[in-house]
């Protein structure tokens, strides 16, 4: 009977029941079977009000959507081209850096492909890059800056850890993400050079005047990371406040300085970013209820003993973790995966002596690959819409990039130094 119910919910999940309802249904069934009052679900949802850091999420998301309403994408690409265009594989490097930078500006709110895709894809093909390569590169790059501050997935991981009384400093997470992110960019660049080694590709010669003019044009937007990082690392602002200042700053420059976002577009950015962030937050709330069910039933302890008894080697544990996260990433959204899995994995990993900051990077880096693994890959879907290509063609285009990133993820997983050198 119990199994039938859970199985039913699993089937409904695959048939398209919203994820927050899937989690709440599992929690509801679990609590009912344990003879507990379903009022607990409301108690858990209200715990969304426990964390100050969460306030940063809507504010960063709003700023990100606002940037995608303006012509920020064009300016970012222009600056990249003016400064990097002369390098071998220049246009490719431009795509990588512009995507990483834009994702960084927007906190990884998933708008990169929408904002840059239609700009970079034709730019790449017109620079004589092969069509499939270009498509794969742009689709892959959409998730590149996800480890760079103010990475929303990293913030979310920190929140989950703090809710479990594990002291993780969000700033440490930001520092830890820098080298792995750089490594990913370099690896993709290297692969791109190799893949196009026989392809004659023209370069954009460096012109100081164009470079300065491009820098001048996007001056106000280039200040955004300075404000975020400066505010946080100088200690003037806590994370939620840095988010508020960023949102206010972006609001001012796009409406008053660049004057590209009119009233209607502004309202649209507010509404749509809040729909997205509301969805994520509700999943987080539902995951709280789901986690509470697990705790109430003593599952973490059980899992703990089960794995602790059978696996002693931390490397083996990490390997299992990689596989598990990749499988989850194939199905789940990055935010959902973090809020559901982090509470289970954190205590286990700490028992194996894995630094929680390193774990956060492993988690997000693995999940980043999930952005373009079938069946559920946000980047694949968005790219499919944006470029009007069938999903299957995108699978074919992205898999070599996926292998490259997977290599980096393994490096980052097994060599903690990449994550921890700047932190510990």
């Amino acid at each position: 009977m119990n199994l039938t119910l859970y199985f039913g919910i699993a089937v409904l999940a695959l048939l398209g029941m919203p994820l927050f309802l899937v989690l709440l249904s599992i929690a509801g069934v679990g609590f009912s079977l344990a003879d507990l009052d379903l009022i607990i679900i409301g108690i858990e949802l209200y715990r969304l009000t426990d964390s100050t850091v969460l306030v940063a999420l809507p504010l960063f998301a709003f700023a990100g959507y606002l940037l995608s309403e303006a012509n920020t994408g064009q300016r970012v690409v222009r600056v990249s081209r003016a400064i990097m265009g002369w390098l071998p594989g220049g246009m490719m490097l431009i795509a990588l850096l512009a995507c990483a930078f834009f994702t960084m500006l927007t906190g990884g709110s998933g708008v990169t492909i929408i904002a840059l895709g239609a700009l970079l894809y034709p730019a790449l093909t017109s620079s004589q890059y092969d069509d499939r390569f270009s498509l794969g590169l742009v689709t892959t790059s959409g998730s590149l800056g996800i480890l760079l501050p103010p990475a929303i997935p990293l913030i979310l991981f920190g929140i989950v850890a703090q809710q479990m009384d594990i002291a993780i400093d969000i700033i440490d997470l930001f520092l830890a993400g820098l080298m792995p992110a750089l490594l990913m960019i370099l690896a993709l660049y290297g692969y791109g050079l190799w893949a196009n080694r026989r392809q004659p590709i023209e370069l954009t010669p460096f012109e100081l005047r164009e470079a300065l003019s491009a820098l001048k044009e996007s001056f106000w937007e280039l200040l955004i990371p300075v404000i975020i990082l400066g505010g946080i690392f100088s200690g003037l602002l806590v994370i939620s406040e840095a988010a508020a200042i960023t949102a206010l700053y972006v609001l001012i420059i796009e409406t008053l300085v660049y004057r590209e976002v009119g009233f209607k577009a502004l309202v649209r950015a507010m509404r749509e970013s809040m729909i997205m962030v509301g969805g994520i937050l509700l999943i987080l709330g539902a995951a709280l209820a789901f986690t509470n069910l697990l705790i109430d039933a003593g599952i973490p302890t059980l899992l703990f003993n089960l794995i602790g008894d059978r696996i002693e080697n931390p490397l083996l544990f990490l390997l299992l973790l990689n596989i598990l996260l990749l499988i989850l990433g194939a199905f789940l959204d990055i935010f959902a995966a973090i809020v559901i899995m982090a509470p289970l994995v954190l205590p286990l990993a700490m028992q194996f002596g894995i630094d929680p900051v390193h774990l956060a990077i492993i988690f997000v880096a693995n999940m980043q690959i999930g952005y373009f693994t079938p069946p559920v890959g946000m980047n694949l879907f968005i790219a499919s819409y944006r470029f009007k290509k069938p999903i299957m063609e995108l699978y074919r285009a992205t898999w070599p990039f996926l292998i490259v990133l997977l290599g980096v993820v393994l490096l980052v997983t097994y060599i903690p130094w990449f994550s921890l050198a700047l932190v510990r």
Binding site: D37, A167, D169, G235
Partner: protein
């Protein structure tokens, strides 16, 4: 009709797993099980996994939890006078807190019992002290400082206001970073908290004047106690009382040791002159008036508090 069925008393606490308190509770569970032939055990939810005080209180009403080990202030909504010993700047030494605990513990427990809360005793939380980047030698120093207070702690907020301090409210999780970066430069905390949360690494001075006496309590709601048979109830009451006493005694030692540990970590000891102590006490009197006016405790109990303390200081009893 109190059942004789097996029952798992579910107790939550913010204290992390592995602390002395949580270990003592687990031992109590084993004793209980042995003495009730397995009819009653404890299930401990440590580390705040059940949420903050309010979430725990809601869960107890919903029956998911039965009791909790919390700072006494968490019960202030049920009975404000549980906070009476939290009145700021009244104590000089642990001897005085012992005298006042002897005076008040039983009465507080009785009042809570009348409101459906079965307590097993109170646990020493130690004194909270002022610590900071710069020395706090006077009320004026405190008024100039960037003082941290937890958000939504009305009691502390009233005290701060009475002292003319404009506090900066932040979440506990943000305190460490904010101390480092200077968003706040002064905190008030018991030494144990300063040690476990690593705050001591970001402050240089500690003012040697106990600010507030903190204490915790272990309780189970009557609604859930009454489901036990009379014998089992007696066993639970006896064993948990003994456990609480034991935790209380250990806690006192820990709190003294924590203070010493802070000094050993290189925090500089700031002594107040007699004039400054008098000025602080003066302000404290004002703060007490504010707390009475805002309903944080009653005037009767406050008078009794001050006269007992006076009596003890004059006559040593």
């Amino acid at each position: 009709a109190a059942g004789t069925v097996a029952m798992e008393l579910r107790i939550a606490t913010l204290l992390p797993d592995g602390t002395g308190e949580v270990r003592a509770l687990r031992q109590a569970s084993e004793r209980l099980s042995a003495e009730t032939d397995g009819r009653v055990t404890l299930r401990i939810f440590p580390g705040g996994v059940m949420g903050d005080d309010q979430a725990v209180e809601r869960r107890i009403r919903a029956g998911q939890l039965h009791g909790s080990l919390v700072q006494s202030g968490a019960l202030a909504r049920v009975y404000p006078n549980v906070q009476i010993l939290n009145a700021p700047f009244i104590f000089d030494s642990y001897d005085e807190t012992d005298r006042l605990r002897a005076e008040f513990d039983d009465d507080i427990a009785r009042e809570l019992a009348e409101r459906g809360i079965h307590t097993f005793g109170f646990i020493d939380g130690g004194f909270a002290y002022v610590m900071g980047h710069q020395p706090t030698r006077s009320v004026e120093d405190l008024q100039r400082a960037r003082v941290w207070l937890p958000a939504n702690d009305t009691f502390s907020l009233q005290v701060a206001r009475a002292f003319g301090v404009s506090p900066i409210t932040l979440n506990i999780s943000e305190v460490l970073t904010s101390l480092q970066t200077g968003i706040v430069d002064t905190i008030m905390a018991p030494p144990t908290a300063a040690l476990t949360l690593q705050w001591f690494t970001r402050v240089d001075y500690i003012t040697d004047m106990p600010l507030i006496y903190t204490y915790a309590t272990l309780y189970v709601h009557d609604r859930h106690m009454s489901r036990l048979s009379e014998d089992d109830r007696a066993a639970v009451d006896r064993i948990l009382r003994e456990t609480t006493e034991q935790i209380d005694a250990n806690a006192r030692e820990n709190n003294r040791a924590a203070f010493e540990a802070l000094l050993n970590q290189g925090l500089e000891h700031v002594q107040l002159t007699d004039t400054e102590i008098a000025a602080v006490r003066d302000k404290a009197g004002l703060a007490h008036e504010v707390l009475i006016r805002e309903g944080e405790f009653s005037r009767d109990w406050h008078e009794r508090l001050m006269s007992t303390l006076e009596d003890y200081r004059q006559n040593g009893r």
